[in-house]
């Protein structure tokens, strides 16, 4: 295979599921390209990715605050009411001396999801106003490191599992934060798992090229 220079490699893409090499072809706006080997999604083309990303990451932040400020569930056990919030889950682990689990949980369900959404908000703002190309590169690298460690979705499933365990022992009322967390997880799934990071890299390149032409 002959290449003119290294930048031409941007026309190629390697499937992240089965490592097959593909050449990129232009596709219709809003559609996606699939791998011939395994059917996994290679890349998408969305002209309004900046607006979508910015809107979703800001909405996500609002719902994240709601999910942390209000009780997730309230239970009534032996006539005594108890409630649970996300910070309380972490602090009760510290209070009972489980520092390692506490730290791990704090990072997985609080710090990393918050960081991801803050970084995404900043990143899409930078791309929207076409400034700070160097900073956006650093942010994308940082994002790649922390994305695998954000586990809000798993935490949501854990809440459901633990509530099923409590059925029969206590009366359970869902709190405001539970629904907020649900919305947050849906946004998180779309923004972090559905949109590949390479699409944001491609978007960044398009924006830099456009600026260079001007």
């Amino acid at each position: 295979m002959k290449l003119e220079n290294e930048d031409v490699l941007d026309r190629f893409v390697i499937c992240h599921q089965c490592y097959t090499l593909h050449e990129e072809i232009p596709i219709k706006d809003g559609s996606h390209a699939c791998c011939t080997g395994c059917g996994g999604i290679l890349y998408r083309y969305d002209t309004r990715l900046v607006d979508h990303g910015l809107a979703l990451s800001m909405t996500g932040l609002v719902f994240f605050v709601l999910a942390n400020a209000f009780p997730l569930v309230e239970i009534e056990l032996l006539g005594v009411g108890q409630f649970l919030t996300i910070p309380k889950t972490i602090f009760s682990l510290f209070a009972s001396g489980f520092y390692i689990v506490g730290i791990i949980c704090a990072f997985l369900i609080f710090i990393f999801p918050l960081m991801i959404f803050l970084i995404n908000t900043l990143l899409f703002t930078l791309l929207k106003f076409r400034v700070g190309t160097k900073l956006s590169k650093e942010l994308l690298v940082l994002l790649a490191y922390i994305t695998p460690w954000s586990m809000s979705d798993i935490f949501l499933v854990s809440i459901l599992v633990s509530l099923v365990k409590l059925i029969g022992y206590a009366q359970i009322h869902m709190g405001v934060a539970f629904w907020a967390l649900m919305v947050f997880v849906l946004i998180d799934l779309y923004l972090v798992k559905y949109i590949h990071l390479s699409e944001i890299w491609m978007l960044r390149k398009r924006i830099i090229l456009k600026e260079a032409i001007k």
């Binding site: 941007d10 599921q17 056990l77 798993i154 365990k165």
Partner: protein, 199 residues
Amino acid sequence: MIEVDENDLMRCPICGAVNIDKGNKNICRRCGSNIYKHRNFSTEKSWAYLITAIIMYIPANLYPILITNQFGQAEGSTILGGVVLLWEHGSYPIALVIFFASIMIPVLKFLILFYLLISVKYPLGNDKKVSKHKLYYMTEVIGPWSMIDVFVVAILAGLIHLSNISIVAGTAATAFAISVFFTLLAAHAFDERLIKEKL
């Protein structure tokens, strides 16, 4: 003009850009990060994490993960004991979820990583019956789900602490959390380029 062999192209694990494999030191042309710089001891890091995870998985199964204090009586239950208890109480779906999350997924992950790490050193399973890249991708996707049990313990411990009835986490919770943490590290440290199926 540069002449490149297709097999020399690789994917940056951080940003996904296609790069040319130049030998010992590879810096991604798009994001500037090092691409698996420890080539002289490529699998050792992953092995070390995997063995740590397996060692931590032993106390995770032996010690109680959840201790219930009911009217002055403390009662601990292990991971497997909890699954059996749930099954006997008739909550089959939850028993299955816990069983899959805390027993099946970690063990499956250990086995897959073991197989991958051995197969990159010795000619094993090159007949393409199962794609190793797909196996690796699967471990990355299902891996975090074993944290369910730790989160459930954290939620129950945070929710139930009355004077008569309280639930606290047990030693196994720490061991299990560390075990999952190290399996995730082991999977991330694995160099995907060592899988050479196309040769």
